[in-house]
């Protein structure tokens, strides 16, 4: 199988590491060669963060480049716009409708674009936009919006629900498992 590429983008602190680990677990359980690439350190401090997930028969480079991503999972609208250059033609975007002003917008040096999701859709891109934050709060905590988005993504990939459930069990601490399962289910429902 040809190598497939997923990008998880968002704002430092939104929980993209857990998301990548859940997807990584799913892919490994299906017998794929898998590589994940994370960014630590300075970029985590509220900056734009990117995690790459690649899988196939044999994966070489752990990073995804412009025009290569089959799916972009975005935790924040502006980040979806920022990384659209990385999307492959015919690729999907799964994004939270959450918006967080970056510092240049806060200080007035730049403007946050309006109707990002509409503009991406107008380009002919298959965009699934979900209010992950509200759903996460329904599940019990705003912090679970990463897992809500995993629920959405599970509907865009061809793996059994049970595979995702065991990935959650493997990656989430036991005391938060029920909450995260609920967040995942809400995401999966919202995707349909």
């Amino acid at each position: 199988m040809e190598t497939k590429s997923i990008m998880i983008v968002g704002v430092g602190g939104q929980g993209s590491l857990l998301a990548s680990r859940i997807i990584g677990n799913v892919l490994q359980s299906q017998g794929f060669d898998v590589k994940l690439s994370e960014v630590h350190g300075m970029s985590q401090r509220g900056g734009s963060v990117v995690t790459y997930v690649k899988y196939g028969d044999k994966v070489y480079s752990p990073v995804v480049q412009k025009g290569e991503a089959d799916i972009i999972i975005s935790f924040e609208q502006l980040e979806a716009a920022r990384y659209v250059e990385f999307l492959k033609k015919g690729g999907h975007i799964v994004t939270s409708t959450q918006s967080i002003d970056p510092m240049p917008v806060i200080t007035g040096a730049a403007v946050y674009p309006e109707d990002i999701i509409g503009k991406l859709t107008a380009k002919g891109i298959d965009v699934t936009a979900v209010d992950a934050l509200t759903l996460a709060e329904q599940a019990g905590t705003a912090k679970a919006s990463n897992v809500v988005l995993m629920g959405v993504v599970s509907k865009k990939m061809d793996f059994n629900e049970s595979v995702w459930q065991s990935a959650l069990e493997a990656c989430v601490p036991a005391k938060f498992l029920e909450l995260n399962k609920k967040a995942f289910a809400l995401g999966a429902q919202a995707a349909v």
């Binding site: 430092g12 590589k35 985590q44 509220g46 290569e68 510092m103």
Partner: protein
């Protein structure tokens, strides 16, 4: 069993399987997790040292004592540890000693983009370079074997993409080597001139034997496919080249990067039509090939700066460029910012308001240089804030002394800031030093340090008392401020700037991300009182924005620190 592992975690697994029993490191992105993961194996003693020099000396001591030992650091950390390294090249080891140095091409979290291979060449030790997690583990084990076989420390060079990528690793059992016998050997371990003179030829001979060994080492590998294109590469660039070129090229993958082989390179070069060297940063492999009289294409195509990626290889060698979609309007950048509730924010707002010259240092607080605070004039290296301000003040005199401060974090102060403070006291400049004591090493992801009262394993440890230390150094005026109370902090800094004689202000408040720190409920803006004056935006809090001309606080980010409340003269911000 195959396990998906971070390169750094696989490295730690390699330490475990190789029977390493001593680990001493200083954190630094992207190397930190090697030591954090090593600490999870009870069979290995692991510690954070105050700096990389101490860590390397401790590891060398453990090796001399007969234990397989390790120390880890980022590229700039190796500069700090260069002194013991260069002489350890002469003494050699008893039990194997392995060093991790993690370079950061692309400068994801670093102040420069130096290539550590130069250090391996200059210190005359061996260096190996893995390209994925499985190799991180295997090369680490091989490094211990090489270290003992050739009586030398061996450096395992990591780069960000190898250190911070996960890939599948096959696990093996641990080999228990026990302690090797220690035999007193003054000629080998006491490096005074008379002995070192005799060691130098031994070092040169060791390098020659290592180079000979590298001709047949399984760590260096040739893959023949189409021979129109030949690629000599190592580390992550091997993965980029394989992804971009596949079977369209043949490869010589170097696992041992210092010293390099000659015969296999010449042989490979003779079998391919066009030869490329793909390596990030400096032309080390390229210059080696050129010195052998081999024609290669390298830096003229790929340049010296940043990362290369599969796209770079595709574009430069095959002339292929990906089709890309674009967003049709400007996307505002999202640079990193101090977190909501960061205790550094209040301090930097005071400094920005006072308009002083700020001699900065390495840590989260370097973000004080970013807009809107812009409260930093210099950042050079770990510990430079205090010493550089001393020099600045010495030549600019008392006018400058009353309008300048050095800022340095608790961990950085312990690392190499205190010697600068000794210089301030000893050579008498009226320098004001602000220690930003957030009770943790923040930037690298919350590592303990000698001031926190806990060790790497989280167990209670001796804690350096910063006030007493500064007094002992000879600083008479040492005061503590709470940066959440900006009025008081500003007052203290102003008073210290006016005083004659050096002083220290400890700005003390634990990092807001620490688990034990209790947060207040998020604050809210009373929209009736808010007039949209934007005064609250001056502190650069990521939780605060203006929508429809009124202030808004993001309740998912706000931790109720109350700094914005101090900014608002209209009393519009409350619980």
């Amino acid at each position: 069993m195959n396990k998906l592992m971070l390169g750094n975690a696989a490295f730690a697994r390699g330490l475990y399987e190789a029977g390493c029993t001593f680990v001493s490191s200083y954190p630094g992105t992207p190397s930190t997790e090697v030591t954090e993961e090593a600490a999870k194996y009870d069979e290995m003693y692991a510690e954070w040292a105050p700096n990389e020099k101490v860590a390397m000396e401790a590891a060398l001591g453990a090796s001399i004592a007969g234990a397989r030992s390790f120390c880890g650091m980022k590229h700039v950390g190796l500069n700090v540890a260069a002194d013991p390294l260069y002489t350890a090249g002469y003494t050699g080891v008893n039990a194997g000693m392995v060093i991790c140095v993690a370079d950061d091409p692309g400068m994801h979290s670093s102040q420069n983009e130096q290539d550590s291979r130069h250090h391996a060449i200059a210190s005359k030790v061996c260096m190996v370079e893995p390209s994925d997690s499985q190799e991180c583990k295997e090369f680490t084990k091989a490094a211990f074997e090489l270290s003992e076989q050739f009586d030398t420390p061996v450096i395992v060079r990591m780069t960000t993409r190898v250190a911070h990528s996960q890939s599948l690793v096959e696990l093996s059992d641990r080999a228990d080597n026990g302690l090797k016998e220690y035999k007193k050997d003054i000629g080998k371990f006491v490096m005074m001139p008379g002995n070192a003179i005799k060691r130098h030829p031994i070092v040169e001979d060791k390098l020659a034997r290592l180079a000979e060994y590298s001709e047949t080492s399984p760590l260096n590998r040739v893959e023949y496919n189409d021979t129109k294109i030949g690629v000599i590469t190592s580390g992550i660039c091997y993965q980029y080249a394989k992804e971009a070129l596949g079977d369209k090229a043949s490869y010589l993958k170097l696992g041992i990067v210092v010293p390099m082989p000659t015969k296999i390179i010449k042989d490979f070069a003779s079998k391919v039509d066009k030869l490329y060297v793909i390596e990030e940063l400096d032309p080390i492999i390229e210059n080696h090939c050129k010195a052998l009289g081999i024609e290669v294409i390298g830096k003229e195509l790929f340049g010296m700066c940043g990362e290369i990626f599969q796209s770079g290889v595709r574009e430069k060698i095959l002339g292929e460029k990906a089709e890309v979609m674009t967003f049709d309007e400007p996307v505002p950048p999202r640079p990193p910012a101090m977190c909501a509730g960061c205790p550094h924010r209040g301090l930097f707002y005071c400094l920005s308001k006072l308009g002083v010259y700020v001699s900065g240092d390495i840590g989260c607080y370097t973000l004080g240089a970013a807009a809107p605070l812009c409260a930093m004039d210099t950042t050079i290296c770990m510990g430079a804030s205090i010493s550089a301000l001393h020099g600045y003040n010495k030549v600019r005199g008392s006018e400058s002394e009353k309008k300048s401060v050095a800022v340095i974090g608790d961990s950085t102060f312990m690392h190499s800031g205190m010697t600068g403070l000794v210089n301030v006291a000893y050579n008498a400049s009226n320098t004001v030093t602000i220690i930003l004591d957030n009770s943790i090493t923040g930037m690298t992801g919350h590592q303990q340090n000698p001031t926190t009262g806990k060790n790497l394993k989280g167990d209670p440890a001796a804690a350096v008392n910063l006030e007493e230390l500064c007094h002992a150094i000879g600083i008479k005026s040492v005061r503590v401020a709470d940066p959440y109370n900006m009025a008081e902090t500003e007052k203290i800094i102003k008073e210290e700037l006016e005083k004659d004689g050096p002083s220290v202000v400890i700005s003390r408040r634990p990092c807001a991300l620490l688990k034990y720190v209790k947060h207040n409920p998020p604050l809210k803006c009373n929209k009736e009182k808010c007039v949209g004056c934007k005064q609250c935006l001056k502190i650069g809090c990521p939780a605060i924005s203006i929508h429809n001309k009124k202030m808004e606080i993001d309740h998912t980010l706000c931790v109720g620190c109350g700094i914005c409340k101090e900014m608002c003269k209209l009393g519009a911000i409350g619980e």
